[in-house]
Structures are given as structure tokens and as C-alpha cells.
Subunit: 427 residues, 2 copies
Amino acid sequence: MNLDDCRRLDAEDPLAALRGKFILPEGVIYLDGNSLGVLPKAAPARIAEVVSHEWGEGLIRSWNSARWIDLPQRLGDKLARLIGAAPGEVVCTDGTSVNLYKVLFAALTQMKDSGRKVVLSERSNFPTDLYIAESLCRERGFVLKLIDDPAGLPAALNGELAVLMLTHVNYRTGAMHDMKALTAAAHAAGALAIWDLAHSAGAVPVALNDCEADFAIGCGYKYLNGGPGAPAFVWVHARHASRFEQPLSGWFGHAAPFEFSPHYRPAPGIARYLCGTQPIISLSALECGIDTVLAAEAHDAGRGSMAALRAKSLALTDAFIALVEERCPGRFTLVTPRAHAQRGSQVCLALADNGPGAYAIVQALIARGVIGDYRAGDSQMPDILRFGFTPLYLGFEDVWRSVDHLVQVLEGEEWKRPEFNQKLAVT
Amino acid sequence: MNLDDCRRLDAEDPLAALRGKFILPEGVIYLDGNSLGVLPKAAPARIAEVVSHEWGEGLIRSWNSARWIDLPQRLGDKLARLIGAAPGEVVCTDGTSVNLYKVLFAALTQMKDSGRKVVLSERSNFPTDLYIAESLCRERGFVLKLIDDPAGLPAALNGELAVLMLTHVNYRTGAMHDMKALTAAAHAAGALAIWDLAHSAGAVPVALNDCEADFAIGCGYKYLNGGPGAPAFVWVHARHASRFEQPLSGWFGHAAPFEFSPHYRPAPGIARYLCGTQPIISLSALECGIDTVLAAEAHDAGRGSMAALRAKSLALTDAFIALVEERCPGRFTLVTPRAHAQRGSQVCLALADNGPGAYAIVQALIARGVIGDYRAGDSQMPDILRFGFTPLYLGFEDVWRSVDHLVQVLEGEEWKRPEFNQKLAVT
């Protein structure tokens, strides 16, 4: 594959025009949309309208006139289309960690008299999920069990299991679980399944209801392009939605918040997963981001939600893998699964000798405008170079140029320069 | 007091120029800053810069280059000056309800082996505080006791008390507790004291360290002018700050989040009260709001933080009370305490006959551009008309005109029009 092939693929790409929905800095190839999505072109004007018109002019009246009051639900209904959920099943609110606390608490409450004591996850799950689970397990008398190799998951779904808590697409490796099979196996073992969709929503097809999942949460600032620290989302299967009072029982989850009753009475359905007053400016930014993903729906052509984006995502990551292997032979190990069914929308590489340099190579690429990121390894996992591919705003020429920059960084030993070896606070 | 007197007071007001720091809609007298503060003039440009420059151009790099990573602490340090706290003791993060959950959990953990089982609050406390306490008490084996008359508080501080949880200024009545005396009494009784500063921060002087309070939380979108659903804040006395792992143990509260360790190790001090990735756009808006309050510091002249704002606030509420009593004789009961030491920065009225009409009078005033709000009563509390006085952007002529509109609404029985008696979703 050469540059001309890539340009031809871009010319034939039915989604190419979607790049126009974003503001991308000049000279940047952005391969970090799995960490923070790009600014939607509609967002600055929409945010300015919310700030100057809805807040500035409407003031308190905007809770009614601008319909601030049900914004979490309206956004949830839009997002539902991307994750195989139904209208009324999703709210956009709080952060991913806080939402995980709500649903894991609810799941543990349901399992508290089951005699089952194990919450199962992966050691390489995103740490905040493990920290929240660690806290709740300690508090509520459960045991958090972490497995190192996802191949061992099916065997661990046994009679001790209370809750299987997984991130659908692994943040480090880009490996994607089979949500349907694992949920079915967890249910067959008598347990509940919680899915973190942080690297899935807007990135890969998700079918929560079809998979019969129990609870799901996810992130608004990655593939949903909602802005730094955007509100997250929470979904609960209809069979659970009205069964629990989640512990963060703030007034926005009350059945009638403006009755100002001193006693909590949970709202029916997903609204009870709201806690306090909702962040209107952030939610409005998130809506612009969700809309960019929904803009691809027109190309799905009956193949199901996210079909067009998924096809392009796989083509982009296939091309990246092929070009790295062709042009940097022997230098890297592919950490992300090669099989499409097991791959999210990112490609992670480790140095073949697992020696030093992964961090500095990423910094040298960033200095060239190719923005990926680095995740440190430990005794069980190598250091990785992580590249996210967002089909909404990336093309095949971007892939070709990224690999070309990588080749140059390696050939000239550019990455050994001291400035690329200084550690930043945030990696 | 007549209109000329009010104009003279405005001409002599050293804080009058601060009104220029806000964008107020034409024709509006805004008496609802205790519910949602006004848009700071600096906010639209600052938010646009964060959106278009820091997010749009800087992308993921802004966590380092724009110092997003310690924004909750930097804002906390600014806010600390307004609430009698020290630098490093406050973070701006999450919502008020979520933050209350963190600190009440921490307080209950500290008291779990004390044999004390009572969490004491007021029935008229803001409902979300009661809902959070109800949830945590049920979960953790405590009993939430609510008293109807705050005069009964001292007698209820006894050997059964674990935690005294109060809102410093009552959202319904505008009555202000003596934080120092009640904290000392709670401590003398062997209990901890949690203060909700939702209607205090930026509204009245607060001296958390001087009062030896244990925990405090508060709201960013009222007197701090942080925007709809702005992040809230949390303060913990230095003697408690590093003692607890709060349950919402997300990765931003980890001692080294970018080590991506699978095990939680809390950050030293207040940073452990952070949970997930922080909402950068909302926090940036909040900073503009906090800055508007800090702009009054130049007028404090050694009298202590908030002295100038407090003096004007009391003068405004005094004037409002006097004018209502003079011009609407016998129509209203004053719900807010007359004594300065017991008054926050709002005035609440009930109809003298406690008959219907409070809601409609508020709606008729809003239609005239005088924006206050209504809070429904119950068997123990009357319906109230609630008027917040924010000395940053209100003057004495505003007070005169508000009362004049109130007189007209009453005299013409304007409030009986059907359109003012239709209930809105949000009151």
C-alpha cells in the first residue's frame, strides 16, 4: 500500500465528508480520539448560545424555556441509538467513575443475599473502574478478583461469581470482548454483567439489549467528542431500572424534585440514576459531539447502527497495521488483536524488545504533529504506543503519513533527543 | 425611603461598579441569584477560549500545556479565600450532592465505632441533602433525625449524636445558623459537624477554620455565578483530610493517576476528594464566577473576607424588608429573620393569611421582569415568595423598583390572571 492507494481510498470513502464536521488544528494527525475527541464544528456556536442566550438572557427561566430540565434524558435518547438501547433507557450525567459506583452498588445490592461474593474483572481494566470496585467490595463484603489473561474469563464464571464487570474494549490493548457470549455465560453462571463502554460508544457497534446486559456506563469525551471531562452516561436494562434506589440519591433522581419533599421517592426508570443539578453547558457540548457520530447513520444503509463507521474503522486500523509491519519490520509487536471481531478502534504497539523508547517515540511523533499516547507497562504488561483511529475525522492518507513519520522518528533516532525523554505530568 | 433615597445610596455605593462585571438582560431585576447566578462578563470569552483554543487546538496536550490537570485545586485555592479555608484545603469538583455523599460517608466512617447512631438535620434542609443522608444512614446503620424548629438544635446535641449536618443558610427561609456556636456544641457533645454552604459561599462571611468545622461542601452556580449546574466544592479540615478513603475513589483522587496502577492509593490531602476526569469547560466557567466575587475583596479594607459584600447585602435586604412593610402593609409575613446575625442574603415572604396566590404573585412579577421564585409549603411550612439579593450586581434602585412592581401586582389583582396560575415544570 502506497500513498496513492491511500488517496484513492479516501476519494472513495463515503464518510470522508464527515471530517468537515470538526475543527482540526493545522498540521495535526490526531490519533488520540480514544482519549479526548476532537472539537465538533458546531460546538463553539452552540456553547456560546447556551452561555450567552440561555444562561445570560434566560437565566433561571431556561430550566423551563430552554428545556434544561430533561437534557440528560434527551441526550440519552440520542445516545441510545449508538449502543443498542431503547429511548428512555439512558441518561447522560456525572462522570464514568460516579456512574459505575451507582450501577455496581445496584448490582451488589441485588446479589447481597445470593451467597456469591466475587466481583470479577481484568487487571488491565481501566484503573478507575478497579478503584471504584475495590472501594465498594470492601464496604459491602465482596471480593474483587482480577484476572491477567482474558482467555481465562469463561472458566472464572462459576458459582462464586456475583458480578462480571468488564470494559468492552480494553483501554491499553484495544482488545474487544464478545459482550453477548460473556454476558450469556455470566447469566448462565447466575451472575450479573456490567459493561464499561468508555472505548466502545461511538467507536464500535454495541447492542446492549440484544446482549441482555444488565448495566452499562460509558464516557462522553472520547469517541463521543463531548469535550474535556464531558458528562458520562448510564444505562440499565429495563428489568432492573425501577428496582433499585441507587445510593447517590440526589434531588434530580426524585420522582418530583420540585415538591421539595424531605423524603426520597425515586423517579421511575432511568431518571433515578441522576443525582444533583445537571451541568447544562457541558451537556450541551456533549450533544454536539453525539450529533457528529449520529451524522454517520445516514451511511449505515440498513446494516445496523455504527455499521459504516465500523467498516471504516477496521479498514483504517488494518491499513495502519499493514504499513507498520511493512515499513518498520521487526521493530514492534502488535498488542491489539488482529482478528476484527476482537479489535476496537485503536492500535497498540509495543517495542519488539520491550526496551526503553516507547515514551520518547510517542513524544517525537507528537512534536511532528502525530498525536498518539503512551501507557506505561509493569511487570506483566509492556509499555505501549497507543493510536486511536476515529473514522469520523481520519482518512487513509492520515494513516500513511503517521507511519511515514514513525519511520522517520525511528530511522534518525530522533526519539533519543533529550526533550523527548522528559516526563510530563499527564502522559 | 423613596426612590431618590435609593438612588443616593447607589451613588454612594463603593461596590456599584462591580455590576459592570456581569451581563444582565435589559429590563430584568434579578432576585434569583440564590438559585442561578448571573453570567459574568468575562465568561463567554473565557469559555470560548477553552473550547476553541485549549480543546480545539491543544487537544489532549492541554492537560499539560493549559494546566487542566490541577484546575480543581487552583479554583479551590481561590474559593478558599471566601470561606475561611487555607490553600490546598478545597477542590472544585462534581456536584453538591455527590460531594455531600463523600464527606458524610467519611464522617460516618469515623463515627462507626462510637456507639452513636444519630445524624441530625433540619426537616427544612434542602431536600437533596436529606436524600443523600437518608441513603447513607440506611446503608450504614445510622438514623437520620430531622427537627422542625432550629431552636431545638442545641438540646438535640447529645450523647447519641454522631454527625450534625446542616445547611448554613436555609434555602427556604434565608435563616443563617451560628456556625461557630453549633460546631462547638456538636464537638462538645462528641459529634462531627458538616456544613452545606450552598447559600453561603459568596453570599455571607464564612470562617470554616476559625469555626473548627469538620467538613463542608457547597454549590458553584448560586452566589458564585459559575453557570447552570456548575461544579461544586468540598472542604475538609486538615485534621481529617488524609485520614479517609472516600468511597467515590476514582482515578483523579489517586496519588499517581498516570501510573495506571490497578490498586487505589489515595492522594494526600484534599485531592483524594476528586473522583473521575474533571469537567474542564464547566470548571473554567466557574473560575470566571469566583473571580467576580473576589473582585469585591479590594473593598474589604482589612475587615475580613466578604465584609464589603456582607455590608451591602444587609443594607439591600433591610431596604427590601422596610419597603415591603411600608408599601404592602399587612399583606406578608417576613419568613427571614430580622436579626442581621441570623440572615443570609435573601428575603422570604409568606402571605399573611397563608392563602393561595404566592405562586401567581411570583409569576406576575417574573412577567414584569422581577425574577424571584416560589417554594411550595406543606403542613408545617407556608408557601413562600423568595428573593435573593446579590450585592455584586443589585442596587438600591433595583430594590425600590421590585417593591413597586410587587405593589402593582397586588393592587391590580394582576396575579389572578390565568396565565400566572399555570404550574411550570420547574418552579
